[in-house]
Symmetry: C2
Subunit: 548 residues, 2 copies
């Protein structure tokens, strides 16, 4: 058995399924580019059958990240990552997946069907024989389209092992090249999960010609340990997400699995293709785009993970790093030199730094970004990488703009009657101004925006954090809203609709302005979705859109 563990990243599929983690197509593409630079072997780019938008997002990633011509000249990788699309075990889903991924140099179709008694009985309403037949039929169908087919027996962690061996053996005969074993509900212990993988490798006919993969969830805090136990039992692909985002308690963290294998190489004797120095950057990118914060005590990528060193008085233990440090911060891309640009930095220095951070902007976009940078530099003494990333995200990775913020004026304080005056520019170019009183400046601002846009919604989450240290820092606001107009999205796993939520982010040195931008960004996503949903569900204001 080789000692190379393939990293299969499903941030854009299972991760994006977290409540509120919805990303725009542009954001997904940027994350896919970052994952390619990170060196993941497989990018699961989405679930194309979910909606035309999802299909299009996967197709763009296949074309722009998965194609040979998308390779950067200076990339250390020999070839672009495999681009994978998820499909339920149905011809329609598999066709959609193929339609999206076929443009990649190395496309993969990933299909799944549940094999646990509880899922077969309650969800699929199928018996064992029917499940087996469907698996054979659909894996064959997928293999007819694509040479690289992954099959997952859903809820494998709670399936009868004998039935599992049978199903997997038939999937191999039907053409599956990767067998992924998911602990769908995060129920197993490392011993159990390791034994499950060992059992599969020992008892499944033909398994020696396949890659066995593991896919764990963190409901009991054991995802990383279970994944490592599966790998030690012989799995050679790990399905993970950046920051461990995903349904409920999330998926296995990419960074934890990779750094455990790296840090304890003599124990595991296994390698991955990951450039670990990119980890921190990708972590921040995903956190910014999904609005899912990373807690300070998160392993590897938390703000405090390496704080021991930084916080200690210089005369202290720096000379004996290993006393309390098992990894070097630099190994995961934590750098101490945050201060890079100031108000006297020129356009060239700005462009070089953006390129170093992995952003490639067109000349026109660069001009726009440089303009904002100069504005920021007037207010803020030093501009850090985090500021630059917030600025680029705020400027370029926003949903299609329906309404834009044209002006905002706020009065608030302890004297009561916080008041906001908002001026928005609509899709037809007209401006609308409203003043409202609220319980605070954000409430007043949002009420004024609501008075103009009239898109009924509930604010589920509102958070602000300072992008960098210092009181003159950029504030970044993340909001999540739920439509009250009956928008549902389809959940692959449970095959049910769920209320759709929309996330938005905005950055500004004025947190009330940033709050307004974030709210508008979420509402713009909601408006675009409303428009697609058709006239019956369309609120009055979308008339603007249709005439625009």
């Amino acid at each position: 058995m080789d000692n190379y563990v393939r990293i299969f990243d499903t941030t854009l599929r299972d991760g994006e399924q977290s409540p509120g983690a919805t990303m725009t197509s542009a954001e997904k593409l940027e994350v896919a580019r970052a994952l390619a630079r990170l060196g993941v072997d497989v990018i699961e780019a989405g679930f194309p059958a979910a909606s035309p938008d999802d299909l299009e997002a996967v197709r763009r990633i296949a074309v722009e990240v998965g194609a040979l011509r998308a390779m950067r000249a200076d990339s250390p990788a020999q070839r672009p990552p495999i681009i994978c699309g998820l499909a339920r075990a149905s011809k329609k889903d598999i066709d959609k997946a193929w339609e999206a991924v076929q443009h990649a140099a190395r496309p993969r179709i990933h299909t799944f069907l549940a094999t646990s008694e509880i899922h077969m009985h309650y969800k699929l309403k199928m018996d064992r024989e029917q499940v087996l037949e469907r698996v054979i039929e659909m894996v064959s169908y997928a293999r007819g389209l694509c040479d690289d087919v992954e099959f997952s027996p859903e809820d494998a962690g709670r399936s009868d092992p004998q039935f599992l061996y049978l199903v997997l053996g038939e999937a191999i005969k039907a053409g599956a090249t990767t067998l992924n074993i998911p602990d769908t509900v995060g129920y197993t212990t490392p011993d159990e999960f390791g034994a499950l993988i060992a059992g599969i490798i020992q008892n499944t006919p033909g398994v020696e010609n396949c890659i066995v993969s593991v896919h764990c969830h963190d409901d009991l805090g054991l995802a990383t340990a279970n994944t490592l136990a599966g790998i030690q039992a012989g799995a050679r692909q790990a399905e993970v997400t950046v920051n461990g985002i995903g349904e409920r308690a999330g998926n296995t963290s990419l960074e934890e699995v990779v750094m455990a294998l790296n840090t304890r190489r003599p124990v595991f004797n296994l390698v991955t293709g990951i450039d670990t120095t990119q980890i921190m950057r990708v972590s921040k990118l995903v956190s910014n785009y999904t609005g899912i914060v990373v807690q300070p005590n998160k392993a590897i990528v938390g703000a405090n993970a390496f704080a021991h060193e930084a916080g200690i008085h210089q005369d202290g233990m720096l000379k004996h790093q290993q006393t309390y440090e098992i990894m070097r911060p630099e190994a995961v891309g934590v750098t101490q030199t945050h201060l890079v640009l100031g108000k006297h930095s020129g356009r060239h220095a700005f462009k070089v730094r953006l390129n170093e951070l992995g952003y490639e902007l067109s000349e026109a976009d660069l001009d726009k970004a440089f303009d904002r940078f100069k504005h920021l530099a007037d207010k803020k003494k030093t501009i850090t990488d985090a500021d630059l990333e917030a600025l680029v995200a705020d400027e370029f990775y926003q949903p299609r703009e329906v309404f834009t913020l044209d002006g905002l004026q706020v009065v608030c304080g302890t004297m009561g009657m916080p008041t906001a005056t908002v001026r928005l520019r609509g899709p037809d170019g007209s401006t609308h101004t409203q003043a409202c009183i609220g319980t605070g400046p954000v409430d007043a601002t949002y009420k004024a925006i609501d008075a103009i846009i009239q898109a009924p919604n509930t604010l589920l989450e509102f958070s602000v954090h300072a992008v960098t240290e210092g009181i003159d820092a950029l504030g970044e606001v993340t909001v999540r809203v739920e439509s009250r107009n009956g928008h549902y999205s389809f959940d692959t796993q449970t095959e049910t609709d769920r209320t759709r939520t929309f996330g938005g982010h905005g950055a500004d040195t004025d947190i009330i302005v940033a709050s307004a931008k974030a709210y508008l960004s979420a509402l713009n996503k909601l408006l675009v979705a409303s428009n697609r949903a058709g006239p019956a569900e369309t609120p009055a204001f979308v008339a603007h859109l249709q005439t625009a």
Copy 2:
């Protein structure tokens, strides 16, 4: 071997050592009360030798939570929790620990000394013989004071097992009743850590009369798995923190270990004394007081951990809960009924709800809290439990107030020149007013406060979140500042000074007012610390304090 696993909570000691997690004495006491209600067996209340404040905080917990008379009449527990104080292996430290914990009905002294080559050589500058001698001497000394003595060989995970058996055997002879095995740097895998514990139980003379304990760190994301592996190998005490807070990537999460043992009882066949329905409440309390956020995808206590259910369209899979749910949300105290009080609720309903939440206020404090509640109810339609907790925390668990916010007026927006006017009341009762311009409303407010207080500091962290859903929600602001006046605190482990950071929080429907309160709360902690540090380090303004 019995099947009862003791839960040793070190949130107040190892958890509080996280950068910026500093709690006030009142906050520590409230957390200790919550831990007692949760049913933990041991509360490690602090490190008394660190400072007179730390000693006093531990003593208060021993008196008010650990004494027999502190038991609530309706408590299901038979006796109060053990109150434990940490001490390095020195008489001075052990004396201080005893001074603090002796007031408890069941006091414990916990002493430690490193046994790994790297720590003995670089940190202790002692050889094996010297370490062994010191352990015998200090465990005996502690046992002379207290019947319950815990000993930890620091960095056991990287120690020579043979030397470890020898040291532990001698510690038992010297009177240790609990042997705690820490993986100090979070370096081991579950297999290794389980084998370490099995080896200790097999090879340490006299171990059958002791409780073996495990203490893991999450640097590689394996703390929970390592802890469970140690328990399966025979350990019967787990050292944990709420939300897994602690140095770097933090300690093992209490909630993950307890819920893994509960959810998979047939596998582990072990029980704890924890009332799991209290988990969510304690999690929120600790997050509020330390300012350390819990990420939405955190196992058990993250906002999304049970969101699968809530987010799904009602007609969906509710009737087959087990399809995707391995724990019931109610089991950890997640309740669906958030809406409890409104503007017409009376003082009695308010008091009853606070009692149900575990708060016991004096009549005078209740009047104050009710007054604020009425104010809030005027602005906000429904008041939830989270609002009540934020309100109580904001009103009663604040540092000693040096400066208070007397008035604030802010103008901001896209037109530029954000301006704040701040009026503070000083310790001598005088008021001070300043107006400042900033890069945003928070910056302007903080600059105005700085102009009055003149306590040089760097703002390290600033975050806001909405306490509940809805745009009229209370905003809660958490800040962390670092003194630029040379305040250091002593780090037990590394025996070095670290720059001291001070956290503050504030809640208000106006997030700029909440930001001002949070900053003042952090600065007040800093001012009190400055005053203690003696005149040489004391900035000019503290003259106020000395004459007050």
